[in-house]
């Protein structure tokens, strides 16, 4: 049974082009032009993945509202923002609302399809039976890939799917600098440099909320990030 993707995009030409490409890639596509239309249909049956534009017709932040509503319905539904906006503010807002990825509209279709595939693979990985390397323990950090849960000094840290895989990639090899490409590969996602930075900032904030002294993720400017273990 093909996976169902909901595409919410107000520009008819782009919507049709993306819908065609997704259909050709073997997905079942439900395309919507605005938020009320999308909500009416999606409320009854959730898709397997949602691609949402931020500006939807008259609602300049309609996509954010839609993302919030979808996230309220399901905490695991993969959501990708696809927008003409490329400011850090929009990217961070989108990721903060629980989106898993953020793409600008100049991304090519193969690029988009690669990200969709990556997201689906990650969801699959979460569903697979336990393996040996599922649990990673680094000092105060405990990661459980089966339950997608992260603990810092015993307190749960609420990470999204993308964030979880990034932390896991860093923590598995402490002291090694992971450049952005490696991180993207390990987290099974295809994101812009800017998005990686935003993700890392959010991950740090989440750990700092649990432990104000958290400084395990170190930025190596020009190269990437690394997990440091102290004491």
């Amino acid at each position: 049974m093909p996976r169902r993707i909901a595409l919410v995009e107000d520009d008819a030409t782009i919507r049709q082009n993306y819908a065609d490409a997704l259909a050709r890639a073997g997905y079942e596509v439900q395309a919507f032009a605005d938020r009320p239309q999308a909500m009416r249909s999606l409320a009854t049956r959730l898709p397997d993945l949602a691609i949402v534009d931020i500006g939807l017709g008259a609602e300049i932040d309609g996509g954010f509202a839609l993302c919030r509503d979808l996230r309220a319905m399901s905490s695991t539904l993969p959501i990708i923002f696809l927008s003409a906006r490329d400011s850090d503010f929009d990217i961070v807002s989108g990721l903060r609302l629980g989106a898993d990825d953020y793409l600008t509209k100049d991304a090519s279709l193969p690029h988009l399809l690669a990200r969709i595939a990556a997201l689906f693979r990650r969801v699959e990985a979460a569903k697979e039976p336990a393996r040996d390397d599922e649990r990673v323990v680094r000092g105060p950090l405990e990661l459980d890939a089966a339950r997608m849960s992260a603990l810092w000094r015993g307190s749960p840290v609420d990470l999204t799917v993308t964030e979880f895989w990034m932390v896991r990639s860093l923590a598995r090899h402490p002291g090694h600098v992971k450049d952005r490409d490696t991180l993207m590969r390990d987290a099974e996602m295809v994101v812009d440099d800017g998005t990686i930075t935003s993700h890392v900032k959010r991950i740090r904030k989440k750990f700092l909320a649990v432990d104000p002294a958290f400084d395990a993720i170190e930025t190596v400017y020009g190269m990437g990030y690394r997990w440091t273990e102290k004491a």
């Binding site: 782009i14 850090d88 100049d106």
Partner: protein, 538 residues
């Protein structure tokens, strides 16, 4: 400083206020008019007195007998004694009288009754004998006015004498009346006459009137008076007026000076603020503080503030236009790109494929351009919301250069950086971006095989980060403008294309955000170009 004062508002207002000096001048003129008027009044007065004495003596032939008075009259003796005393004081007067003094008791009684205070009356008969003399010109000095002479009035005395000149009168003898005037009276002509005295200030006014018996002239009456009282009046009026008008002038000067100083201060403040509001690059940096004054300067303040505001809005609009433009362009580019991708996935073969790829290349270039356009705006927004944190600039530079070495394996990078930390507070990500842009720029210029030199130095207060390449020198005229958006130092068609010179604008943005400056210099002897950023630490 001096020149500034001479051309300033204060100086001009003070010059203009010199008009105030006309007030004392007018006062002086008024007083001399008044004095002339008083003199005329005195003349008429004294003439009237002379007439009155003359008519009282008229038609009394007994008083003017053809013969002389009886000698040996004891009263005459007494009078001679007095004249002698008078003569002792004034030999000239004694000589002028001599034996011509033949007084008549009755006439002198008349004169005593009718004479005026501080005046001297003579009665002379046709034989030029003095028949009566009464009164004296040497009046006792009148009691000074209640207010004692203050230092100010005595101080003003030279000023007064400077501006007021006494009327010109011929010099004369104060002891006897003028012979000619008596002679004219004896032939029936009444007259008044002014003559000077040895005291330069005082003049004597005399009026002569014939005395008739029937139609015959039997003698003449001469009444004399000094102008001392007028003089005194004039003097005190002048002193008062001048003191008063000078005080008014000084007060007016002071008020004008205060007012002008206040005006000048406000205008200078406005001037300084207006000048500081726009920096060398034409960016609006400062604001005009509105004082809320309701006058013209307040209006000027408001107008300048409004103009600056409008200019700032327009600048913001221009700066945001790049971002807006890229946002608006992205959607049509997405339409073209997704259509091309769809077309390509249906895998047309042959010639069509080539054109499809070329169209794809074009769209790629277009979207690179678009993201460059919005890069500055994006960074600006990032800086606005970013939190400044303490970090080690040397570590950032070392890390970035490591990154470039792996990202551009074909190029050589020389790094000179202090081994100890260069601690500063700021946004490290922005610094990485700044260095990215400087290195990208250097890579575009540097000839193949040459090294890019990155140097960081610090003296504890300021840090300098320089990136040099061995590329061709930049025309001197371009150097100051290189860091402006949309200015590119490279030739058309060179490099990867799509370079709008936005990279260096980003360098400046980050440097300015951290309180620093940027500059580009051609190295001597054509050894390349150095782009340098200097920022204060902490």
């Amino acid at each position: 400083m001096r020149a500034a004062f001479v051309h300033g508002i204060r100086f001009r207002l003070l010059l203009a206020s010199l008009v105030l000096l006309a007030i004392p001048a007018l006062a002086v003129q008024f007083i001399s008019r008044m004095e002339a008027f008083l003199r005329i009044a005195q003349e008429q007065d004294i003439a009237a007195t002379a007439r009155a004495v003359a008519s009282a003596l008229s038609d009394r032939p007994a008083l003017f007998p053809p013969g002389g008075a009886a000698p040996g009259d004891p009263e005459d003796e007494e009078r001679r004694r007095i004249v002698g005393l008078f003569a002792a004081a004034d030999p000239v007067a004694a000589a002028s009288l001599g034996s011509a003094y033949a007084p008549s008791e009755e006439i002198e009684r008349f004169l005593d009754i009718m004479g005026r205070r501080a005046s001297r009356s003579w009665v002379v008969d046709t034989r030029s004998r003095v028949r009566g003399l009464s009164g004296s010109l040497r009046e006792p000095p009148p009691a000074r006015s209640a207010a004692p002479r203050t230092t100010i009035t005595s101080w003003l005395k030279p000023v007064v004498s400077l501006v007021v000149s006494s009327p010109e009168v011929p010099a004369g003898d104060e002891s006897t009346p003028v012979r000619a005037q008596i002679d004219r009276a004896l032939i029936g002509v009444s007259s008044t006459y002014w003559r000077g005295t040895r005291d330069r200030e005082v003049a004597i006014l005399s009026a002569a009137q014939p005395v008739f018996v029937g139609d015959d002239i039997v003698g003449a009456v001469v009444v004399e008076e000094t102008t001392a009282s007028i003089l005194l009046l004039r003097q005190s009026a002048l002193e008062n007026l001048i003191a008063l008008t000078l005080a008014v002038c000084v007060a007016a000067f002071a008020i004008l000076l205060y007012f002008a100083t206040r005006l000048a201060t406000r205008i200078r403040r406005l001037h300084a603020e207006a000048e500081a509001a726009i920096d060398a690059q034409g960016r609006i940096r400062g604001d005009i503080t509105l004082t809320g004054a309701k006058d013209e300067i307040g209006d000027l303040e408001r107008t300048i503030a409004a103009v600056l505001g409008r200019l700032r809005d327009y600048n913001t609009y221009l700066e945001q236009m790049a971002g807006q433009l890229s946002h608006e362009l992205r959607t049509p580019v997405a339409v073209v790109r997704s259509s091309l991708d769809n077309l390509r996935s249906q895998s047309p073969e042959g010639a069509a494929r080539v054109y499809l790829d070329r169209a794809g290349e074009g769209v790629d270039r277009l979207s690179r351009l678009i993201s460059r356009l919005s890069e500055g705006t994006r960074l600006e927004k990032m800086l606005e919301s970013a939190e400044r944190e303490p970090f080690d600039l040397a570590a950032v530079v070392r890390g970035c250069v490591e990154g470039y070495r792996s990202a551009y394996p074909g190029r050589a990078f020389d790094l000179e950086a202090p081994t100890q930390a260069v601690a500063m507070t700021g946004v490290p990500d922005a610094w990485a971006q700044l260095l990215d842009k400087l290195v990208e720029n250097a890579l575009d210029f540097a000839p193949a095989g040459s090294a890019i030199r990155v140097a960081l130095s610090s003296d504890g207060h300021r840090a300098r980060l320089g990136v040099a390449n061995e590329g061709p020198p930049i025309p001197a005229a371009m150097l100051p403008r290189l860091f402006d958006a949309m200015v590119s130092g490279r030739d058309e068609g060179q490099g990867r294309g799509g370079h709008l010179g936005l990279g260096l604008a980003i360098v400046r943005l980050v440097a300015v955000f951290h309180g620093g400056t940027v500059r580009a210099v051609n190295l001597p002897e054509g050894r390349g170009v150095l782009f340098e950023v200097e920022v204060p630490l902490s």
